[in-house]
C-alpha cells in the first residue's frame, strides 16, 4: 500500500456525459463449468439466481478443470491433457502430453499453476507459467508420506503445494515444493477441502474425520503458526472470498454452507442448500462457487453466491434450449 499525502484535491478528468458514453455494457458470465452430461465446457450465462448454461465453448472432453479466473482450463481429450485458453472467446487448445495424471487436481489461486496427482505413480506433477508458457515441474513423490492423497492445493504461482493425506496414522497436511522433502504442516485424518485465499497467504483445510476446518495463516513458508479451528458437520469443501474476508465451508451434515469470518473462523451465517453439496470450487474470481455438478442431464448445478451467501440452482438444459 502506497503512502497517502494530505491534503489532496481530486476531480474526474472526464465530463460526466462523456463518462456515461464511455461506459461499456455487456452481459455477465459467472464462469465456466465442465458439463459431464454434454462432455463440454459451458459458460454460466447470467448471474447466480438467473443463470443458465450456455453453448459449449469446447466439447468432446472426458473432463476438465477450469482455472479460478475462468479464463483457461486443463482438460482431458482422448487420453491426453490439453490446455484450453481464452474460454471467454474462442478457446485455443494446446497439448500438454499424455494424461498419466488425472485423479486429483488443483489450481493456484492466481490461475497460473496446475497440479495433478496420479494414484498410479503416487506422485504429483506441477504445471506452471500458465497460460502463456506452460512447463511441467519434476514429479513430486508422495508415496513416502503413507496414507492416501485425498486433496491438493497449489500455492500462488505454483511455488509450493499442500497435499492432504488421508490416514489414521499418516494423515495430515504436507507442504511440498519441487526439490524439497515434504513437510508435515499439521496432522489431519481426512483432509478434504483445501484452499488458499486470493493472495495465497492463508491456507484453509477441512477435515472430514473430525468435522472441523482449520486456518493456517501465512503459509508462504512451511512453518505456519497460530492454527485456528472451527466445526463443520461433514465438510466436503471450502472456498475463500475474493478479498479473503469470508470462508465458505460446505457440509453435508447440515446440508448447508457455513460462512465464516476468514481471519477468525467465527461463523457468521449458514446458508441452507436445496441439495447436498459435493465440494466448493470458485467459478470465477471467487465471487460464485460451484457446490455440485450433475452427472446426468436434467439435473441442475448448485452454486453459491458468495456475498451475501445464497444458494441457487443453475439449470443445465440442452444447448438448443430454450
Amino acid at each position: 500500500m502506497r503512502r497517502i499525502i494530505r491534503p489532496i484535491f481530486l476531480w474526474f478528468a472526464l465530463p460526466l456525459a462523456a463518462a456515461g458514453q464511455n461506459s461499456a455494457m455487456s452481459g455477465p458470465v459467472s464462469g465456466f463449468v465442465y458439463d459431464a452430461p454434454s462432455r463440454g465446457i459451458r459458460p454460466v450465462v447470467g448471474v447466480a439466481g438467473t443463470a443458465y448454461l450456455g453453448a459449449a465453448v469446447a466439447s468432446g472432453l472426458e473432463g476438465a478443470f477450469i482455472a479460478p479466473n475462468g479464463k483457461h482450463a486443463v482438460a482431458l481429450r482422448e487420453g491426453r491433457m490439453v490446455l484450453l485458453r481464452g474460454l471467454e472467446s474462442t478457446a485455443e487448445e494446446s497439448d500438454l502430453g499424455a494424461a498419466h495424471y488425472w485423479e486429483i487436481a488443483a489450481w493456484s489461486p492466481d490461475s497460473s499453476a496446475f497440479a495433478v496427482y496420479s494414484a498410479v505413480t503416487r506422485s504429483v506433477r506441477l504445471l506452471r507459467n500458465l497460460p502463456g508458457e506452460p512447463a511441467w515441474e519434476a514429479p513430486i513423490d508422495v508415496s513416502t508420506l503413507g496414507g492416501v492423497l485425498s486433496s491438493l492445493a497449489v500455492g500462488q504461482s505454483g511455488r509450493f503445494l499442500v497435499a492432504g493425506i488421508r490416514g489414521e496414522a499418516a494423515g495430515g497436511l504436507y507442504w511440498m515444493a519441487s526439490g524439497t522433502q515434504p513437510v508435515l504442516l499439521t496432522t489431519m485424518v481426512h483432509p478434504l477441502g483445501l484452499g488458499f485465499d486470493a493472495d495465497g497467504r492463508h491456507f484453509y483445510a477441512a477435515d472430514r474425520a473430525t468435522n472441523s476446518v482449520v486456518r493456517l495463516p501465512d503459509l508462504a513458508s512451511s512453518s505456519p503458526s497460530g492454527i485456528t479451528t472451527a466445526s463443520v458437520a461433514e465438510p466436503v469443501g471450502l472456498g475463500i472470498s475474493r478479498q479473503g474476508r469470508f470462508l465458505y465451508v460446505a457440509g453435508q451434515g447440515g446440508k448447508s454452507v457455513s460462512v465464516f469470518e476468514a481471519a477468525t473462523l467465527r461463523q457468521i451465517s449458514e446458508t441452507a442448500l436445496p441439495a447436498l453439496a459435493s465440494g466448493v470450487r470458485p467459478l470465477r474470481d471467487n465471487l460464485v462457487y460451484l457446490l455440485s455438478a450433475p452427472l446426468a442431464s436434467g439435473e441442475p448445478y448448485l452454486v453459491l453466491e458468495g456475498h451475501p451467501g445464497a444458494a441457487y440452482f443453475v439449470p443445465a438444459a440442452e444447448e438448443d434450449h430454450p
Partner: protein, 730 residues
C-alpha cells in the same frame, strides 16, 4: 304201385272178336298191382318191371264159363325166358263151369329192352276130350335209369356211381356252386324214383321234384344240389336216390376255397409274424422321431382273398406306400405297405391297424415332454390349447389386472423352458413373477407366472405371448379412466418478482385412483419485450415432468420434490405455467382448457447485484456494475464517492447518463441471452490538485455508492469499497 300190366288187346277182344269170345268160354282177369282188367284170349298182357333183373308179375285168373268140364293141363311160356310162372298152379287142374284157374306170370327183365313172349295154356274139354289151348301174348318192359351229374363250373356230365363221391368244384367262401343231377330213363318202361334225399348242411337241393316220380322212357328228371360255404373247409353230404325200389347213395364232397392271410411286421432290425387281434408292442419312441415299420400280407390260403381297405388310427400313426384298394390276393400273393409312426405327443399310444377284416393293435410309449397350458379366470382354471387365446376383462386405462398362467408337463421326460415373453412390442401386457429361465419342468410338475394387463389407451388391444415355440393370443380392452379431479397450481411462497427461483406446486382437489404422470409447461408472454432465456425450470428447459402416485393428490417433481422450482429471470412479463396429465401408459387426461398459473414479473426499478473494480492504475480505475432492468431500459448510473480522510472530492455524486449505452446493449442480439441483465464497466480517470508523482490518486477514494435509474424508479444502493481494492485486482 302203378299198374305194371297193361292189357293191350282188350279193346279188340271186347269189340272186334265177339265170336271168338264166345268160342272160348273163359273169362280172363289180369291183375297187375291193384289194377284188374278182363282180357280175352290172344290179348297181350304188359308187365312192367321196376328195374332190370327185378321181377315183376301179373296175376291171372281164368274163369271157365262153359258148361262142361275142362282140365288145364299145361302152361307154356315162350320168348326170351324172361317170362315164367311165378306162382304156378297145380296141373292138371280140372274145373267145371265157373271154376277158376289162377296163376301168376313173372317177368324178370335182363335188360331194359322191351321183350315179348307168349303164354299158351293147354286144357282139355273133358266132355269131348278135345285138347285145346288158350293163348295170351306177353310183353315186358323195364326202365333203365341212368344217374349222372354235371358241375356248374364246366357243365360236363359225369355218370354217378352209387357209393362214389360227387365232388363239387372248390368254391369261395360265401360264394356258391351247384351240381345238376340228371336221372335219365334209357329203358323201355317208366322208371320210378321214389325218394330223393340230400344230407349235409351246406348242400341244398334245388328244383327237386315230388316223389315218387316216374321217369318215362326217354325222359329225364333233373334237380340240382347247391353248395354255399360260409367258411373255409371240407364239406360232405349224401345224395340218396331210391330209383326202381333200390336205394342208391352218392356221397357228396365239396371244399370251400378261402384265403389265409399271414402278416409280418418288419422293422430295421427284425421281422416278426403278427396275428390279427393281437397286441404288438413297439419300442419306445421319442416325440418327433420317425419309426418306419414294414407290413407284409401274404395269402397262404387256397382261395383268392380280397383286402378291401387298409387304415390305421392312433396319434402319430400314418400309412405310406399303401397299394390301391381293394386288392385281390391270389393264393401265394402278397402286398406290402409301411406304417410311419412319428409321435407328436408323449405318453401311452395305441394304434389300431385294420387290414380287411383283420385288426391289429400297436402299443407304445412316446418319450418327450408335453406341456399343457392353463390360466385362471376367477376361481376357474381354464386349459389353453396351443395357439389359443387368453382374454382379460376390460380394464381402465392406467389400471392393471393380472391373470395367473400355468405350464404343466404331462409328458414322459423333463421339459426345459427358456423363453417366455410378450412377443409384441410396446404391449400393455407384461410377464411378471417369472421363474428364472431356463427352467426345468419335470414330468408332472408345473410352473406359474403372471400376465399383467395394464392398458394405456382406450380400446381393444392384442398381443402375443410366446412360450418357446408356442404362441398365445392375449386380448383385452382398455376403458376410459375416471375423470381427472380439479387441481390447483400455486407458487409456494406467493407472488413472484424478477430474479427469483420460486417453487410451483400442483395438487389435485381429490386423490386420484390411478398413478398419473404429467408435465408443467412454461411459456413466456414478454409483453413486448424479449423473453429471458434464463426462465427455466430447475431441470433445465421450460417443461418439467411430474408424477402423482395412485391415491394421492400431490404432484412430485424429480422423484422427490413437492414443487417445481423455476427462474423468473430478469425481464418483465407473464410466465404461464400449464399442466398436462396422463396415465403412465399415455392416456391423456388433460382438460380441454387446462387451468394455467400466471406469474407476473412486474416492471420495476433497476436492481444492482454486484460491483467490482476491474482495473486500476495510479490515476485511473474502472468499476464494473452488474444488475438488471426488467423493462430492459437504463437511464442513469449514479455514483456517490466518498474519500479517505484528508482527501477532497469537490463533486462526490456523479450521475451518468447511460441512455445510449443501455439502448445499444439492450438492442443488440447479444443481450438477448441475458434478459434484463447488464454489466456496465465505467472507466474513471482522476486528477489531483498537486502534481505529486508519488501519490496514488485512486487510493484517495474510500468507497462509492452506486444506484441505477430508469422510468420505473431508482435501484437499490450498491456500495463498493474502493480503498485498497486496487491491490486485489488480479
Amino acid at each position: 304201385m302203378r299198374f305194371s300190366v297193361i292189357v293191350l288187346a282188350a279193346f279188340s277182344w271186347l269189340f272186334g272178336a265177339p265170336s271168338k269170345l264166345l268160342a272160348q268160354p273163359f273169362e280172363i282177369r289180369v291183375q297187375t298191382g291193384d289194377a284188374i282188367s278182363v282180357v280175352g284170349p290172344g290179348s297181350t298182357i304188359l308187365i312192367t318191371a321196376n328195374a332190370v333183373r327185378q321181377q315183376a308179375s301179373a296175376n291171372v285168373s281164368i274163369t271157365y264159363r262153359g258148361t262142361g268140364r275142362i282140365t288145364f293141363s299145361q302152361l307154356d311160356f315162350f320168348g326170351a325166358g324172361n317170362f315164367g310162372a311165378a306162382a304156378a298152379p297145380d296141373l292138371p287142374h280140372s274145373i267145371a263151369g265157373g271154376g277158376v284157374l289162377a296163376f301168376r306170370i313173372g317177368y324178370t327183365p335182363v335188360s331194359s329192352n322191351r321183350v315179348t313172349g307168349r303164354l299158351t295154356i293147354h286144357y282139355i274139354e273133358e266132355n269131348t276130350g278135345q285138347a285145346n289151348t288158350l293163348q295170351l301174348n306177353l310183353e315186358g318192359i323195364a326202365p333203365n335209369l341212368l344217374i349222372s351229374y354235371s358241375l356248374q363250373t364246366d357243365g360236363n356230365a359225369f355218370p354217378a356211381t352209387p357209393g362214389t363221391k360227387i365232388v363239387f368244384s372248390p368254391t369261395q367262401v360265401n360264394a356258391e356252386t351247384s351240381a345238376t343231377i340228371t336221372i335219365a330213363n334209357r329203358g323201355s318202361g317208366p322208371g320210378l324214383v321214389s325218394q330223393i334225399a340230400i344230407t349235409g348242411a351246406l348242400f341244398q337241393p334245388q328244383g327237386l321234384p315230388l316223389t315218387p316220380a316216374f321217369v318215362e322212357p326217354g325222359q329225364e328228371l333233373r334237380f340240382a344240389i347247391r353248395y354255399a360255404p360260409k367258411q373255409a373247409g371240407l364239406s360232405t353230404g349224401n345224395l340218396r336216390l331210391v330209383a326202381g325200389g333200390t336205394p342208391q347213395d352218392y356221397p357228396l364232397e365239396a371244399a370251400a376255397a378261402a384265403p389265409t392271410f399271414v402278416y409280418e411286421l418288419a422293422s430295421s432290425t427284425s421281422t416278426v409274424a403278427i396275428s390279427p387281434s393281437s397286441r404288438i408292442d413297439i419300442p419306445h419312441t421319442n416325440v418327433g422321431v420317425q419309426r418306419i415299420l414294414r407290413v407284409s400280407v401274404r395269402n397262404t390260403g387256397n382261395g383268392q382273398g380280397q383286402i378291401g381297405t387298409i387304415f390305421i388310427t392312433g396319434q402319430g400313426f400314418q400309412l405310406t406306400e399303401v397299394p390301391p384298394m381293394p386288392q385281390n390276393l391270389e393264393p401265394g400273393a402278397s402286398l406290402h405297405f409301411n406304417i410311419d409312426f412319428t409321435p407328436t405327443q408323449p405318453g401311452q399310444i395305441i394304434g389300431r391297424l385294420r387290414i380287411g377284416a383283420d385288426s391289429f393293435e400297436f402299443a407304445t410309449t412316446s418319450l418327450g415332454p408335453r406341456l399343457l397350458y392353463f390360466y385362471t379366470a376367477g376361481d376357474t382354471t381354464v386349459p389353453l390349447a396351443a395357439g389359443g387365446g387368453v382374454s382379460f376383462n376390460p380394464q381402465q386405462a392406467g389400471g392393471a389386472v393380472r391373470r395367473e398362467f400355468f405350464i404343466r408337463n404331462e409328458g414322459t421326460t423333463a421339459a426345459i423352458v427358456s423363453g417366455i415373453e410378450i412377443a409384441t412390442a410396446n404391449s400393455p401386457f407384461t410377464v411378471i413373477d417369472l421363474p428364472g429361465l431356463p427352467v426345468t419342468i419335470e414330468p408332472g410338475a408345473s410352473i406359474s407366472f403372471g400376465i399383467r394387463f395394464a392398458p394405456t389407451a382406450v380400446g381393444a388391444v392384442t398381443a402375443s405371448l410366446r412360450i418357446e415355440s408356442e404362441t398365445f393370443a392375449l386380448t383385452g380392452s382398455g376403458t376410459a379412466p375416471p375423470p381427472l379431479p380439479d387441481y390447483q397450481l400455486a407458487v409456494v411462497n406467493g407472488t413472484v418478482q424478477a430474479f427469483q427461483q420460486p417453487g410451483v406446486g400442483l395438487e389435485l382437489s381429490a386423490p386420484y385412483a390411478l398413478a398419473l404422470t404429467g408435465a408443467l409447461t412454461l411459456t413466456i408472454d414478454p409483453q413486448g419485450l424479449s423473453a429471458d432465456p434464463a426462465v427455466q425450470f430447475l431441470s433445465g428447459g421450460r417443461t418439467i415432468a411430474f408424477s402423482i402416485p395412485a391415491g394421492s393428490k400431490q404432484a412430485i417433481f424429480g422423484g422427490e420434490a413437492a414443487e417445481a422450482r423455476l427462474q423468473t429471470g430478469t425481464v418483465a412479463g407473464n410466465l404461464l405455467i400449464t399442466p398436462s396429465f396422463a396415465t403412465p401408459g399415455g392416456v391423456n387426461l388433460t382438460p380441454e382448457s387446462p387451468r394455467t398459473l400466471t406469474l407476473n414479473v412486474p416492471r420495476s426499478a433497476p436492481r444492482l447485484l454486484n460491483s467490482q473494480i476491474v482495473s486500476s492504475g495510479r490515476n485511473s480505475f474502472s468499476i464494473q456494475v452488474t444488475g438488471f432492468a426488467t423493462d430492459r431500459t437504463l437511464n442513469t448510473l449514479t455514483l456517490d464517492f466518498t474519500t479517505v480522510q484528508g482527501a477532497n472530492l469537490p463533486t462526490a455524486r456523479h450521475t451518468l447518463n447511460v441512455d445510449s449505452a443501455s439502448f445499444a446493449w439492450y438492442s443488440s442480439p447479444q443481450s438477448q441471452a441475458f434478459g434484463g441483465l447488464f454489466t456496465a464497466t465505467i472507466p474513471f480517470t482522476l486528477q489531483g490538485g498537486r502534481n505529486d508523482e508519488t501519490i496514488n490518486l485512486a487510493d484517495a477514494l474510500q468507497s462509492v455508492n452506486i444506484t441505477a435509474g430508469n422510468g420505473n424508479g431508482t435501484s437499490n444502493v450498491l456500495t463498493l469499497e474502493l480503498r485498497g481494492a486496487s491491490a486485489a485486482i488480479p
